[in-house]
């Protein structure tokens, strides 16, 4: 049931408790916490097999890569366009467990498996991809049925005014978060972030992933038209993955700022302790 329909218990006490997260949201959240980590870490190992990104239908060593992670003269580097950054110790050249220098793009502590193994990372990635995809579809249908999308995620008309959005940005910048009644609902930037992940980033990850499959390109040639080629799809896949990483860090920061214990507890039990309204 929606937050607004819930009885607010203990109205008289400072910390009212509301039912904030539906079962569908909680299951999907924790499943994704695991699955996305596996997808990301195995994906970085797959990237290590050819740490160059291109635009267009084709792209290989003799073609121009817009992004490259590599090593030269013992130093690691990340190159984006003409800008090259020395990344020794992290990307391109890093210290392995026996203190030897390893020259792969992403370091072992970020990849599955931790030592170079394209075949195994593909198995992790392409097996969990099915779970990732199935879970999204189930979540979409479930969230339509229980009105999570309409009631919790879609912004109301008043939230879409420039003034409201600017206020929300200002409040976030000042780390001033909704309290009391206002905290029952997601704020506007929060809604944008979730909508972006649920309806843009994750679907893009899945579709660009499928575009990299030669069999899918035969079955669904429109994929290549939509994304502008297999190598473009590979680049978009990587960019979306990095945006999900960015979302992850902002998400964790927000959870810490507004109260980690309350936030994590509510994502497990569904029940959220409303932060008390400050006295004016």
């Amino acid at each position: 049931m929606a937050v607004s329909d819930q009885e607010v218990t203990n109205v008289n006490t400072a910390a009212a408790i509301v039912y904030r997260h539906k079962l569908s949201t909680r299951i999907w959240h924790w499943l994704n916490a695991v699955v996305i980590l596996i997808m990301l870490m195995s994906g970085l190992m797959i990237f290590n097999a050819h740490p160059r990104l291109y635009w267009g239908q084709y792209g290989a060593n003799f073609d121009h890569a817009w992004l490259q992670i590599g090593s030269a003269g013992g130093d690691g580097f990340l190159r984006i366009g003409d800008l090259s950054i020395r990344t020794t110790g992290f990307l391109g050249a890093w210290q392995g467990p026996d203190d030897e220098t390893v020259y792969t793009a992403f370091p072992g502590w970020l990849t599955i498996p931790s030592t170079y193994d394209l075949a195994l990372s593909r198995r992790w990635h392409l097996t969990f991809a099915w779970l990732f995809m199935a879970a999204l579809v189930v979540y979409w249908i479930w969230s339509l049925a229980n009105r999570h999308i309409r009631q919790d995620l879609l912004p109301e008309k008043r939230e879409l005014s420039a003034r409201h959005i600017l206020d929300d940005i200002k409040n976030h910048t000042l780390l001033r978060f909704p309290r009391g009644e206002e905290a029952k609902r997601y704020n506007t930037l929060q809604k944008f972030a979730y909508l972006g992940v649920v309806f843009v980033l994750i679907p893009l990850m899945i579709l660009t992933g499928l575009t990299m499959s030669p069999a899918m390109d035969a079955a669904w040639p429109w994929l290549l038209h939509v994304f502008g080629g297999r190598q473009s799809a590979r680049s978009i896949h990587f960019i979306c993955a990095m945006l999900i990483v960015l979302f992850f860090f902002v998400h964790i920061l927000m959870v810490v700022f507004v109260g980690a214990i309350n936030e994590i507890r509510s994502m497990i039990t569904g029940w959220y302790h409303l932060p008390p309204k400050e006295r004016d």
Binding site: I46, F47, A49, H50, R52, Q57, Y58, G59, A60, N61, F62, D63, L118, A119, L120, R122, R123, W124, H125, L126, T127, F128, A129, W130, L210, M212, S213, P214, A215, M216, D217, A218, A219, W220, P221, L224, R230, Q231, R234
Partner: protein, 254 residues
């Protein structure tokens, strides 16, 4: 013919299902069922069935000459080191013969000239390496399906195996495809690339093009084609060199 291929598709996928069960039950000294061979192979198992279902006999995208890669890199083995192969190169492959046998009605051998005299197909397609890069090139050759019809498959044939001249250490390369891909119109035994005779780096004198799968399926330096009922008797039993040596998946459509 279409109906025959459709029935073959069905039989091939049933056979493949059976063989993967046989694989997971196998307890040879070189094969230990582990987490990654069971749980983590589920993705490939699903990909094979679902892509066969939705892909059917769909053609891989073809490109125009202007869309071709300026440089088409080589990889894998690029210069087979066996003395037999060296001998063939000095004769410009005039002594080379392709052997087609196994579960066929009339085993046969073909010279390069004989293959070139057969009906040919040219296609500009994208080659996708398992590592992630792609290159677009033009391939000309005989459709594998045409050749298989010449020799006639026996009814119990389910897979087509390619035995190659290149070796990793002492092991000659080998690969295999099911009958869906074997009879797919774009599956070629290519003897020419970009309107030139196939170079040694790209697999001269004959290589496979199986356009809906990744690069390691495209066997180069083909010496012999064998029709089989099961893959368990080939190499380590998983249908290809990298499948046996490196745990790569047999179905490489994704």
């Amino acid at each position: 013919m279409a109906r025959l291929i459709t029935r073959r598709n069905l039989i091939a996928s049933i056979a493949a299902g059976g063989s993967s069960i046989a694989l997971s039950a196998c307890t040879g000294p070189t094969y230990n069922p582990t987490f990654q061979d069971t749980v983590l192979s589920a993705g490939d198992w699903l990909a094979y069935r679902i892509q066969r279902l939705i892909g059917g006999n769909a053609l891989a995208p073809e490109f125009s000459e202007s869309e071709m890669s300026p440089v088409f890199r080589t990889n894998g083995n690029i210069d087979p080191d066996s003395s037999d192969y060296k001998k063939l190169t000095t004769g410009n492959f005039s002594d080379w013969q392709l052997r087609v046998d196994g579960l066929v009605s009339t085993p046969a051998s073909y010279s390069l000239a004989q293959l070139r005299a057969m009906p040919s197909r040219s296609q500009i397609t994208r080659h996708d390496c398992v590592e992630g890069w792609s290159a677009i090139g033009k391939w000309t050759g005989v459709q594998l399906g045409y050749l298989l019809k010449q020799v006639g498959l026996q009814p119990n044939a389910r897979f087509v195996v390619f035995h190659c001249a290149d070796r990793f250490d002492e092991t000659p390369y080998y690969e295999s495809v099911d009958l869906v891909d074997a009879f797919h119109p774009q599956t070629l035994l290519a003897y020419a690339m970009n309107d030139e005779p196939l170079s040694i780096g790209h697999g001269a004198p004959l290589r496979l093009r199986v356009e809906r799968q990744l690069g390691y399926k495209h066997a180069k330096y083909i010496m012999r084609i064998e029709a089989v009922a099961v893959l368990s008797g080939i190499g380590g039993g998983r249908g290809g060199f990298w499948e046996d040596e490196g745990d790569y998946d047999w179905y490489a459509g994704i």
